[in-house]
């Protein structure tokens, strides 16, 4: 009941903002070609639905595969850095540095190297998603109580068993937290990667629509991206609730 209520409030805010926007454009505040009114965006969402859908499928594939790739790599690296302190000392600063490389600069270089296919998109999405997942997973490993490790040692558990039985399950909530943060940056990363060289996708569609003065279509592409990010976030929240129910708290939930 509470969930429905809070979602209803969000919809109310959105409706109010759309109303102000619509009135502003209708009353001549802005040229509809520069700022399309919401009804024109809605019209485009309907008229261009086939184009938007096929573009969405391309971008969704890049984002989902990229996040999966990032999660696998992040888990492996976080585990390795957890086991070997020297590895952590060596790689952590480099990892932070890698995040300061501007994606708009990196993406064209990757296109040059990997071509116009899905390759450079996956690398960009994985690169931007990877960082939050490593950081939160490492925090999860570190959150294990030192006394619990001692207890396991008096039970004659090997280092490997301690990892599989205690440390890995304890780090799983961190993996989900990282993935939820990654969803948003992953979508932005995919758009930049498509701008650097692509022939399909929502970012590509956006880029092509602006010079043709199809601003309503460009806005429709943004709406689809936003809804996609929200849905992905909600799916991850659901997966988190099912997989790590002991750690699930409603903080960070979509409905607050």
């Amino acid at each position: 009941m509470r969930r429905t209520l809070s979602l209803w409030r969000t919809l109310l805010v959105v409706a109010a903002l759309l109303g102000v926007w619509e009135l502003y454009v209708d009353l001549g505040g802005a040229d509809p070609l520069i700022l399309p009114p919401p009804h024109a965006v809605a019209q485009s969402l309907y008229d261009d639905r086939a184009l938007l859908w096929s573009s969405f499928l391309v971008t969704a594939r890049e984002v989902v595969l990229g996040i999966l790739l990032a999660t696998a790599a992040a888990l492996a690296l976080a585990a390795a850095m957890h086991f070997f302190v020297s590895l952590r000392r060596a790689f952590y600063p480099l990892m932070v540095a890698s995040q300061t490389i501007p994606v708009p600069m990196l993406a064209p270089v990757l296109v040059l190297w990997l071509g116009f296919g899905i390759g450079p998109k996956l690398v960009v999405v994985a690169l931007v998603s990877f960082f939050p997942i490593v950081v939160t997973t490492l925090a999860g490993f570190a959150s294990v109580d030192a006394d619990l490790i001692k207890l396991m040692r008096t039970f004659d558990a090997t280092r490997r068993r301690v990892f599989w039985m205690v440390e890995l399950p304890a780090a799983l909530p961190g993996v989900f937290t990282g993935a939820k943060i990654a969803v948003v940056v992953a979508v932005i990363g995919a758009v930049f990667a498509e701008w650097a060289g692509a022939n399909a996708g929502l970012g590509y569609l956006f880029e092509q629509s602006i010079p043709q003065l199809l601003t309503a279509r460009a806005y429709a592409a943004v709406v689809v991206m936003s809804v996609f990010a929200i849905v992905l976030f909600a799916l991850l929240t659901l997966a988190e609730r099912l997989t790590v129910p002991w750690a699930y708290r409603s903080i960070g939930d979509l409905d607050g």
């Binding site: 001692k150 207890l151 039970f155 558990a157």
Partner: protein, 255 residues
Amino acid sequence: MVIEAPPKEPSDLHAQSGVRVEHVDRTFAGRTGAVHALADVSVRADTGEIVTVVGPSGCGKSTLLELICGLQRPDAGTVRSAPAALMPQRDLLLPWLTALDNAALALRARGMKREEARAAAAPWLKRFGLGGFEQARPAQLSGGMRQRVSFLRSLLAGKPVLALDEPFAALDAITRAEMQGWLARVLASEPRTVILVTHDVEEAVMLGDRVLVMSARPGRIINEVRVAEARPRRRTDAQIVGLRERVLEALGVNQ
């Protein structure tokens, strides 16, 4: 509580299963410099004996247990002990496991198959009054139940020595009193060499065959009190009350 016949011994107890701590000194690096935890501490526990160690907070009691469990090494002196399992102060149950799987953790830790470990632990849960809670998660259990699962987990490690670190300190007074009685009954039917540290004088006297009194840091043994009273003991027995007074006096807290 009815204690049924034991379903199966967790493991063969070693013939020689005592604890000998002799003239041990231990200093470790703390946040604000070196901490002298133990000074010339000697503790002896014979097979099947329950030795309680009572002292003020931070007197090195936990350090003593970690030495016995082999988790630390002494700077001076010797520690000889049969294999010991720790029971920590906080229950430290794994929130993602059921009560049954938590109890079976020590069995799984040494490589027993999941189903086998569950089959071995299940009768003990019933015996410990936790029947029907096998599938409950720790968050669904009361504090006393969680401590019972935690104790069972350490018991099933099958070590001849149990090192109990303030096992009931986190419980409310009523539950703690119940749990002390419960532990006395369990140990009567399931004898182990036990070193139990506590800051609760009454607990030390109620449960121990001998009570060692420790000073504030650096911890030394300043007194030893033998409790000859037969079990089951009652808190109100004249001898228990008298011994409690004696221990309090040794700690210097009796007016």
